[in-house]
Symmetry: C2
Subunit: 313 residues, 2 copies
Amino acid sequence: MTDKMREAAAFLREHDNYEILTHDYPDGDTLGSGYALCMVLQQMGKKARVITTSVPKDYLFLQEGVVAQDFEAETIVSVDIADEKLLGVNREKYEGRIDLCIDHHITNKVNAPLKLVEGSAAANCAILYKLFRLMDITWTRGIANCLYTGISTDTGCFRYTNTTSETMRIAADIMDIGCDTVYINKVMFETKTKKKIALEREVYDTIEYCLGDRCAIITVTLETQRAIGVSDGELEGLASIPRCIEGVQIGITMREKKPNEFKVSVRTNGNVSASALCETLGGGGHTAAAGCTVTGTPEEAKATLKAAAARFL
Amino acid sequence: MTDKMREAAAFLREHDNYEILTHDYPDGDTLGSGYALCMVLQQMGKKARVITTSVPKDYLFLQEGVVAQDFEAETIVSVDIADEKLLGVNREKYEGRIDLCIDHHITNKVNAPLKLVEGSAAANCAILYKLFRLMDITWTRGIANCLYTGISTDTGCFRYTNTTSETMRIAADIMDIGCDTVYINKVMFETKTKKKIALEREVYDTIEYCLGDRCAIITVTLETQRAIGVSDGELEGLASIPRCIEGVQIGITMREKKPNEFKVSVRTNGNVSASALCETLGGGGHTAAAGCTVTGTPEEAKATLKAAAARFL
């Protein structure tokens, strides 16, 4: 255990009336962290609530076991938030007011008097697991479900490169506490809607290989989106399709937003920088995942993207 | 450690000149088991080779560290083989000759004087891990890679219902030995060949929903297999497609092996037993994943499967 972890445990014992902040466009790790910590604090006789911008339907079960409490907030804790900019609509209210920041992003920029940041943790929930062990909490299925959800979603169910042997052992301990892994894995990793299947089928027909098959482009036309009636959730994840094709270094997804305007997602393998590529087209992002907007007819937009990709291969 | 495990360890020490049998349409678990055991036996100064019907390209790396040896076979071990029928073209030569059977299928029907069968193991490679610990072998990266490949592929990278906390801890131990998880996870779970993409596209067109959409059936015809020129490796994994559709409890994959003969994979959610279903058709397997062979025209075979599925819904 680190000194910071002991400090964080002492801090949580000493204070009360907690608001726990999660990041915008919330995922399993920020929500799992938030609700797990909230249940632990309530179990200790404290008052606590989780502040979110929204909770996607598939994550609603994480709230089971949390009691709605009426109180005036005194203590602010952020979980899985690398930067206060990521507070979304809650930024104005909470920026500069965070007392304890718990996070696993090595680039953490949150301004707080006490920070428990472990960049080597695969998920923020893995840090909380160790903190809760130190605090000797009473383990419940609800807390275990929250932590397992955070760890499994942030590691792509233990297949991303951030997964370590420690991650695996923490997950094993959580499973032994008692945790609905069958339900969670099914919902998070093993379920596609019929519309999603129909969408993938349509998109497969649009795959175009270029630049010696090192680049693959898929297109989601407005017509397809309308015909199938897909939601944003169903469109999510499509961008990984071209990148996963054997030999492809640059995978491009063109989503028609309105006639002659495309939202473009670029995913890369190996040494190609997706953000550098997208920056040449006015966009940006991360090394392996970035985006931009391209206008023109489908043919013109594709030509623009191919020319940009060619400069990076 | 069970008595059977001690017996198996003693058996392997006492004998020599091994042929290790893997099952037809080999997967990561049978090949990982075969090559890991072969390396362990060679390390002990024994002569050993692995007998396969084929080795899909993606699994060729498992052979690294195995030495080709010339010898007359004396001792026959089967790994991950539930039934001698699954020996494929090697059946005639080896049926009734197996001395030691190591397997994790609870329905194991192999006829052998010594059987180490643990139905609770997520993968055969998980049994071998415990056996190798008992035997106090010298661990190498090659052996670790084989065992990790078997365990990760048989659990869908730790997301299938057969994954237990013991599975997670064994994987953690293997990662600590030193193992190429980044490479293995990329190849096994994050890469699709162009042919695989073409195959999925064709298969999406064959999805048939029945029994109130609680059952979905996909068909891979000989024509599709020939037209795309797919390998066994590319066919693997298709079976998870129908099961992953929202609301589907029984997902069935019919692969035409020759005219009017189908290799059937059944995958189930919830309370439906895939092995019980397949046993009614002369097959077997695990609770959530099982198989059988069905003959007849495509329509007849499908009718047979629908009738069998109906009894379990």
